[in-house]
Symmetry: C2
Subunit: 562 residues, 2 copies
């Protein structure tokens, strides 16, 4: 039961845990000291040689963890991911966890790391939540080196005829920094370059993050980097990285970042944590390198995708599966009674009160997400992540509701009990996989038009009634078609809080249209981003940022991470 | 002899070298596996516990390597630093090297890494020249997190009454990116923050880089961060990091970056590479943590400071010694016959031609730098880093000139022969140390006025006739005095190419004045920066950046690094 206020904090539990040397964790999955590159005592990267050697092995089964639309009440998807991995290992199933690495932006902004919670955490949580092994910094460097090379190209004569008003490549920082969303650069006269409008995205929304996560190896990475469109000429022809001739330099900057990172859970389950695109403004899945490698090293892989099934899971299933060939064998949809009550209209202050009416109404949000998973043809289990104040009546109501819907449901208490608290869920998932009723299919064909693809997501996944394209988006759609790029999948950028593009519409809204305000072709990532509603690719900080509570003592011990 | 064009390239030599595991290098200086945190197989950080344990040990002697003003002909100061360290080890002296870590900006801009050359290199050169152990990225993150927190503070109500026109804290990226020197941020309406002017410095010029390099431990680091002035209020009162309450968060972001990095030379000499401030726009010395730790682990430490003795060495001796208590036992001044001929007026295209007249004239530059070292009361040796095309007559002329001046001089061939090529230099340095004629003194007292301190550097170190302060600098001087900060040492920001502030004046210019255009108090670093001439704190890229030649193959092997 999640009862954080009365119990130890996540960081306390993490700091009391006794870790095994990462070499021992590597050994537990059949890797030698030569196969890993250690980063401190408890983190390691897998070498390319080690990954190459695994190619001949059979693939384990992939379990995808997703959730209802997140609320301020907390759902605990990462916690359940970790706990389920530990539970499967407790049941004697050789299981590995594959997750994303956290961005510094939210870590310093709003409380909430991305390393699980309670007794279901990956460790060392401080390192993973801060710089980890430097992957995101390498992406920031590559992203901004490219920007500097573009501006330098224009400054030094502009032989590619780049229209400075049509540079689509933005700079990036891995921070929440609203003041950098819209900037003017190159001011100060001829010595300082060419003035133009620019903006910064958070690094986890950079196309290079998507490229890193969707590349199967360094060669694939370099060829994806080469294809990225950075600008258009005065004749409106696309300018790609390969035209600048710097894909080699960018790939070199990413040569270590592409190697997946090995860590452990509190119970010493092996975990690969690698790549960190947000699921609202990016594709929301950890790297293909991590998921594929985990599947080679274990019989089961528990992996997550960001936010609700409308975002991360949809993109996992329509984008990541296509780029990797990975298909999940089963899906877990995480919910909490507290969050469901919020979706049903209960105010946050009243979540400790029993409220069957709000619960019933909120269950519609869960229902929509499970319908989505069914449309993808995948078996699923609903995981109810139990909190201390959930009442018996509420739990009973929920169990009966699931039974009525014919849904598998399992209570989890992984926050408090680690893997032991996830045994019921693990058994339910294993039984779904054994039934083998997997009829996976995509929700659109790549040959569909852009409009048909977006429409399929809006109708099948969001439950909306249609789309409204802005005139800018329509113009961009025309450009994309003209350039022959419309055969790519769609990466929706949408608020995580609602099935619609309006963060205020909780539960299961209906009869809404999705406003597509911009379409951005990302040829390196291999998808077209559709920006909807007011979603922003650079978050801001709250009035009281988490940074105010962060600290370190003279021995290097961290405080204030959550 | 440096004969690069006819021989293997630096990266070829580096990639053919057989490295020892970093654990073996650690063992060679008495450190156990528990004392280090490995970053891959050939890099490690020293733990705080390991450093604490060393406190009781005696300090080794520090040898400071500096040079004449750099020219496009190349001097090879890093190469001589590494070769001298190897030579001392060959002579059976327990020696460690302490150097700065390279910035990505120049690595991707102009050819020339900072890891030595030929057979006198620190390894793995690709990693050290790229992201290394992430120290500089941690500084970039802390620097920009602080910027985001300042702008957020203003956006969220500005309770500290910060005048957005008087924010002195700039953003930073570790790249050469001229277009970011002067920018306007916060555009786009109320949701995107408060519009204001800003700019980016290269990270190695960030005050946080100086703080990291001048801190004696984490506690010192945090208290220095707290003191940094970021802005002024509408009442012109300084606003410090401690007023924002985020020194804990910044220190947490730097908790691993403060640990020195252990690597090895081609000959397996141990080297600590840590901190990387430029010597023209920052204080130009590796970290106190690295130099002090090296002095505890070895009997001799060979360390360098950036560019000529007018920049890095002056700051080492006036700033770093004060913050650390470290005093060099001897100084090495590196020159090449090629570079001296350039200082004497020979054009770059003619450097292969014998030219005793140019050599004689160029020797005045060397003479000035040795006079500076004498003023500091330190014994020195001139190291002539030999190139293949240096003629016998030129070498003879130089030897006689040094004899006439009463200077110790040694030829080195460390590029071609590694430590063996530095034996003569090592013996000369040891003999200087044995003579024990060290009368070290500062060139100014902290209680001198700002004008007196700058004047002392200009007259004693640059050989100039005086200073001209801009009206802005005078106003800032007045503010600094009013705030009671004038007791700090001075960190001059000046072109590296000339003793004057005009990069075109080679050799030994005289009768020049130094234009001080700005004075910036850096309370965390503990110095006042004096910006002179046109020196810029964010470099630009050349027409053909080195990035165009950088590449990586599918196994992760780097190419195009120099």
């Amino acid at each position: 039961m999640e009862t954080k206020p009365l119990m130890k904090s996540d960081i306390q539990i993490a700091q009391e845990a006794v870790l095994k040397p990462i070499s021992a964790i590597a050994e537990s999955v059949g890797l030698t000291l030569d196969d890993i590159e250690q980063y401190g005592k408890y983190k390691a990267k897998l070498s390319y040689e080690a990954i190459d050697k695994l190619a001949v092995k059979q693939d384990g089964k992939v379990i995808l963890v997703t959730s209802i639309n997140p609320t301020p009440a907390g759902e605990g998807k990462s916690t359940v991911t970790v706990g389920l991995g530990d539970a499967l290992n407790q049941l004697g199933k050789r299981t590995m966890i594959a997750m994303r690495e956290p961005s510094l932006g939210p870590t310093m902004g709003i409380k909430g790391g991305a390393t699980g919670g309670g007794y279901s955490q990956v460790l060392p949580m401080e390192d993973i939540n801060l710089h980890f092994t430097g992957d995101i910094h390498a992406i920031t460097s590559a992203n901004n080196a490219l920007s500097a090379l573009i501006d330098n190209h224009i400054h030094q004569g502009n032989s590619l005829n780049i229209d400075a008003r049509r540079i689509v490549w933005k700079r990036a920082l891995d921070l929440n920094d609203r003041a950098l969303r819209k900037v003017v650069i190159g001011l100060g006269g001829p010595v300082q370059g060419v003035p133009r409008e620019d903006g910064f995205d958070i690094t986890v929304a950079s196309e290079i993050m998507a490229v890193l996560c969707l590349s199967n190896d360094l060669e694939d990475l370099k060829s994806r980097l080469a294809k990225m469109v950075v600008a258009y000429t005065y004749d409106k022809e696309p300018v790609k990285v390969e035209d600048l001739g710097v894909e080699g330099a960018l790939a070199l900057l990413l040569k270590d970042a592409l190697k997946p990172n090995l860590v452990q859970t509190i119970e010493h389950s092996p975990a690969l944590i690698h790549g960190g695109p947000f699921a609202n403004i990016a594709h929301g899945c950890n790297s293909i390198a991590a998921t594929k490698t985990a599947a080679k090293l274990a019989d089961f892989v528990v992996t997550e995708s960001g936010f609700g099934a409308d975002l991360g899971a949809e993109k996992f299933l329509n984008i990541k599966t296509r780029a990797s060939g990975i298909q999940p064998s089963a899906v877990v949809v995480v919910a909490t009674i507290r969050a469901l009550k919020m979706h049903g209209g209960a105010p946050k202050a009243n979540l400790h009160l029993e409220d069957l009416q709000a619960l019933e109404k909120g269950l519609e949000n869960l229902k929509k997400h499970t319908e989505t998973i069914e449309k993808f043809g995948l078996p699923f289990v609903v995981a109810i992540n139990r909190f201390a104040l959930d009442t018996d009546l509420e739990l009973k109501f929920l169990a009966e509701w699931c039974e009525k819907q014919g849904m598998e449901v399992a209570l989890t208490e992984v926050w408090e009990h680690g893997g032991k608290g996830g045994i019921q869920l693990a058994q339910a998932v294993l039984s779904q996989i054994e039934k083998n009723e997997n009829n996976f299919n995509y929700l659109y064909e790549l040959t569909d038009t852009i409009e048909e693809k977006v429409n399929s997501i809006v109708k099948n996944v969001y439950g909306g009634s249609g789309i409204e394209f802005s005139s800018k988006a329509l113009r961009q759609m025309h450009e994309i078609e003209k350039n022959g790029w419309s055969g790519l999948p769609i990466c929706m950028a949408k608020t995580q809080y609602s099935l619609s593009d309006n963060p205020g519409l909780l539960g299961r809204p209906s009869n809404f249209k999705i406003q597509v305000r911009e379409l951005q072709p990302k040829l390196g990532a291999g998808f077209i981003v559709a920006l909807t509603g007011d979603v922003m690719t650079m978050p801001g900080l709250p009035k009281k940022p988490a940074a105010l509570e962060m600290d370190v003592d003279n021995t290097g011990k961290a405080a204030g991470l959550f």
